[in-house]
Structure formats: structure tokens, C-alpha cells
Symmetry: C2
Subunit: 334 residues, 2 copies
DNA sequence: TTGAAAGCGCTAACAT
DNA sequence: ATGTTAGCGCTTTCAA
């Protein structure tokens, strides 16, 4: 079997308690003893078994983060932000992907809870009842991300999707557009998409403009993503050839629509104005660069993690709902 | 504290052993007992503590996977493939990102080993000596991915980067290109990039053509990625205006170069031929679609995971070096 | 500053 | 088919 703390203790001629103290960086170990123990650790390539440590100390040192997918940079950045904050605090991150499936989310929560995480970061605030039960029974710090949960389980870290959508649509209206369609892909089981649609409708209604929301036909897969968006664009233009602007539910759709325009020879923004959401690297990389909403996806993860870590240490968080805001980035497509 | 197996046992009026048997799906439990226990589990929202279970059974049910980054779909797909195979086997996946830092990789290996994973999936085969020591002492199944390790620690799952690069460059030569430059971003601490360069040089040498390799000036960040590649393209064309083709070390560089061409009015492929590597969704989504090498990034993760799981069960793997191949995808940019 | 010992919550071997 | 019990490898009192 693998080396244990006993082997180290025996090798260094001390008790296991002392080795444990060295490992935890406790001050009450004499310099020489510490050194002897550390040498023995090196020599044996001893790696502490944190499963045992966690069981004993009731601190797993694990924080779970559950996101819809890692396949797009969208949430990878959030995971990244969380990881940065957690790693400096000696916490291990467990990542799970729901694949936009609310049932899978529940499975993941259950699987994660088995490892007794010190905190859990979830995306959105739409969960199965069992998740609430489980989380309630587990009694650990929880952060819900990417939206503004009105009554969060623990805390909420995100931004106002509806206001962001309203603002960017208003920007297009200000630019003189009148027949603005919305192009969506229905990949969220959460209500983020609905909030963006609400924001679009809010802006349109305020200006007495006609609402025109289009979902893509099938669920979007990563691979067909761009083409899928292109097809929806075709559909929109076929139904209403006088459409002069497209608000897309995210940058992937915006880029897909833009590609389609380039193929069809539609001049953007002159003939058709396009706006996205999220501000992925591709939005600024492409020509023409895409007007979009910049959302703090890295900060969302980092802020959630930071607060979770504090809560795990028994600190109290002043604000349960943390709004990180957003920014309208005007580029060349509008 | 949280609910334990004792609470369930007491509530159901059975011994802890019986509850454990129910949990593990053992057949030697009467139907009625099983049902009574399961009801109690439901009622209490009991979630087994797998830290304790792992400690006792010496099976953590955890498999670690360490990739350079999740910010690009490149490795996210590999993680995804691994996750798919592992989840059906009731194994939890721990993901770590090295950020292309070989020292961080060592840290991650150490952190993961503390959780006594049943296997570890690494990217590439260039590791610090300490990693070899640690892995050796831990004595667990290890898979190295994305390359062809000549002497893998455990097994190697990937493809021949050099041959792939050679083949796609040969394709450009066959199309009549003669002055082919290579555009790279030096983000790999692993030798994958070098192997691709070797493949490029192999093809060029074979046809007596002049070699011209360009690295980007700074390390590429995700955000500046496309612009960065564009700048390198500018540099290449400034130094050798008669360059008629660019082989890029990955699709991000290819797309970045293509964007730059569109900005500068360079006609692709007529004036300049461009090829990438990996076959990301953007490569087929963009117009003109990018010629590239399709690599089995999802299968790499899945195959590694499948074999690791088998090894963890004591099975012997026939082949230590698994070559999943690649495919040249000719599209519109060449 | 240190050693000894009692758990942490589970699994698995051994009884019955 | 089921209960009992001895660990798994740590952490954390409690003494010394």
C-alpha cells in the first residue's frame, strides 16, 4: 500500500501527531524536528491522504462548481475565476457540467455532496426541488451565478440579464433601427434566456415597436452552432425581409448570423445591424467586430469563490445578492 | 452534524452493514429490508460520505484529468470525452488546468494525489522529474494524452503530431504552393508544437523548399489571440511578401490570420493559402472555411478514461501506445 | 514541544 | 439475510 503518516513518523522517529503538525504548518514544532520530518517526507515521496484528513477534520478542502458546459469559453472563464481564488486558499475545485440538463444538475449536486464540499457554486437559480432539499440538508455555503436570484439559496453573484438586453436593444433603436428581431438558441434550462427576451421586449414595447422572437429549431450543438444560427437568420429574413437589425441571445449566434451575412452578401451593419451578448474573444476578433454586452464572467466565478470561502470560514457576507453589472460594447456591427 | 449511516440504520431498525449493502446495491438484502432502508434514506435526505467510504474501501472513485486550459474548446472536448466514459462507471472527474505551466502541472499532480485518485490523465509527456517520482510512488494507472509518448509512464493516447503536420503541409505543396511559412504561438511547454514544426520542416525539406517558421512575439492570451496571430501574419508578409501559404500551429492562429487577411483585403486562398490544426467549430463555421487537421480530441479523453478504468479494475491493456490517428480536412482556404 | 489515544463515517470480513 | 466489529489514515484533544 501507499506510504502513510505512520511510515513518516516511524522513519523520523517521532509520533504521528508531530508529523501532522508539520504538515499543517503548526508553530509548535521545534525547528530540528520539523526538518527531520520534512526530510523523511521528501525521501519517501509521502503524499498525505486528504480523504482521511477530511474525514477527521471535517474539512474536505473541496469546493464544487457546476456549470452548463465547458465547451464554450463562456463558463470556462467563470470556472477559471473561481479556481484562481480557491487555489490560493488551498481549496480544490471540482467541476461539473450539466449539459443544460436540469436533471443532470441534480445528479451532480448529489455526487458532489458525497465528497462533503465546503461550498458549491451553481449556475442560475432554477433547480429541481430535490436539489433544494439536498442543499438544505447539507447545510453548506452555496452561490448561484450568472443571474440575479431574488431569493438565493445562499448568495447570488451575477448581473441583470434583462436590463442588459434592454440596454443593447435600446442602443440599436437609438441607431435608428425599427424592425429588430431576436435570434435565440434555447439552450438554457435556466431563465437567463427568458430574461434576455424580456429585456428585448421591454425595449421594443417602450418604443412601440413590433416584437419578433425566433428560436432555433433544434437544440444547438457546439459543432453545428454557427450554421444553426445562420439558418435561423435565413428564416427571419425570409419571413420579414425588411428586418433591419438582429439581437442575438449570445455571441455565438451573433457570429453565426454574421458569417451567414458574409456568405449571402448582406452588408453589416448598413443593411443589417447585429448585436450579441457575453463579449467572447471572437466578438472583438472578427471583422466587422461585433457590438455586444460585456458580462463579467471571470469575476462572477472569482467573486462567488471568494465569498464562499469566507462563508466556509464562518464569516458573514454583508450582501446576499451581489450584482457585478455589465457594459454595452459598441463595435462595428451596429 | 450531517446525517450518517448510523442515523439511517437506526431509523430503519437495521445494522449499518445492511445500509451499506443497500447503498452498494448488494444482492444479499431482502426486498423488504431494502425498501425500508431506501425510504429512510429518502426521508432523511441522506447522502453517503464518500470520503469515509473511500478511506475504508481504498477506492476513491475519483479520476483526475489535467489539461493545459479549458478556455478553448480544444481540451474541453477531451475532458468531456473522459467525463462521459467515467460517469457511466460511477467515477468522479477532477479537472485541473496547468495554464501551460509545467510547474503548475506538478502542483496539480500533488494536489490530486492527495485525494487518492484511481487514475490520472495528463496532457503531453513532458513533466518535471518530481511528477515521475510522485506517480511512481503512487502506483496508479496513468494516461498521457494528445501525443505519442515513446516511453509512456502508463499508457499513451493520442496521434502523431509530426505526421499530421507533414501531411497537411504536403497538401499545400501539392496544391502548388512553394513559399509556405509556419505561424506558431509558443504556448505549449510540451513538445507537441515542436513536433508540428518538425512535420512542417520534414515536408518542406522533402520538396527542397525553404523553411520559414515564425513565433508570435509574446505568449498568446485568449483575448488577444486573434489579433496576435494577425500581427504575426503582418510580420511574415512584410519580411517575405511573396509568401503564398501559411501553415498555422492551430485553428486559432489560422482564424486570426484569416481575419487579418479580410481586413487587409488579401484574397484567400488565391493570394494566400491558409491551413490550421485541430478542426475547431470555428474552422468550419467561418467563410471561407479553413482547411485543417481533424484530431480526435473527444475520443482521446474517452479512450484514455476507458482504459484507465479498466486498469483500475486490474485488467491489463494490450497496447500501451494507442494511436487514434487524424484526418486532413480540405476546405476553402487552400 | 511532544506522544498517546479517541474518534471521523464508512466497508468488509466474520459471525450467526 | 443480517448484525457486529475491526480497521482505513488522518486530526485533535489531553497529558506529560
Amino acid at each position: 500500500m501507499s506510504i502513510t503518516i505512520k511510515d513518516v513518523a516511524a522513519g523520523a522517529g517521532v509520533g504521528v501527531g508531530t508529523v501532522s503538525r508539520v504538515l499543517s504548518g503548526s508553530t509548535s514544532v521545534s525547528k530540528q524536528t520539523r526538518q527531520r520530518v520534512e526530510e523523511e517526507i521528501q525521501r519517501l515521496h509521502y503524499v498525505p491522504n486528504s480523504l482521511a484528513g477530511a474525514l477527521s477534520s471535517r474539512r474536505s478542502g473541496i469546493v464544487g462548481i457546476i456549470v452548463p458546459t465547458l465547451e464554450q469559453s463562456i463558463f470556462a472563464d467563470t470556472v477559471d475565476g473561481a479556481e484562481s481564488e480557491l487555489n490560493v486558499r488551498n481549496l480544490q475545485v471540482m467541476v461539473g457540467q450539466t449539459k443544460y440538463d436540469i436533471g443532470r444538475e441534480a445528479e451532480l449536486v448529489k455526487a458532489f455532496l458525497k465528497l462533503r464540499p465546503e461550498g458549491l457554486i451553481l449556475t442560475g437559480s432554477n433547480h429541481l426541488p430535490i436539489v433544494h432539499d439536498l442543499l438544505n440538508a447539507a447545510d453548506i455555503p452555496v452561490a448561484e451565478c450568472w443571474g440575479r436570484a431574488e431569493t438565493p439559496i445562499g448568495i447570488s453573484v451575477g448581473f441583470d440579464n434583462q436590463a442588459a438586453a434592454r440596454d443593447i436593444v435600446t442602443h440599436m433603436i437609438d441607431r435608428g433601427r425599427r424592425r429588430i428581431a431576436m435570434l435565440c438558441t434555447p439552450r438554457y434550462f435556466d431563465n437567463r434566456l427568458q430574461q434576455r427576451i424580456d429585456g428585448y421586449e421591454e425595449a421594443m414595447n417602450l418604443h412601440g415597436l413590433e416584437i419578433d422572437v425566433h428560436d432555433s429549431i433544434e437544440g444547438a450543438s457546439t459543432y453545428s452552432g454557427f450554421h444553426q444560427s445562420g439558418k435561423v437568420l435565413d428564416h427571419i429574413l425570409q419571413q420579414r425581409p425588411d428586418t433591419d437589425a438582429i439581437f442575438c441571445s449570445d455571441d455565438f449566434n451573433a457570429v453565426g448570423a454574421l458569417f451567414r451575412c458574409q456568405q449571402r452578401g448582406i452588408w453589416v451593419p448598413n443593411q443589417l445591424s447585429i448585436a450579441g451578448f457575453v463579449d467572447l474573444p471572437i466578438a472583438s476578433g472578427i471583422t466587422p467586430a461585433v457590438t455586444t454586452v460585456r458580462v463579467p464572467r471571470w469575476e462572477i466565478g472569482a467573486t462567488a469563490a471568494r465569498n464562499l470561502a469566507a462563508m466556509a470560514n464562518g464569516e458573514t457576507i454583508p450582501e446576499r445578492i451581489i450584482d457585478l453589472g455589465y457594459e454595452i460594447i459598441v463595435r462595428e456591427t451596429t
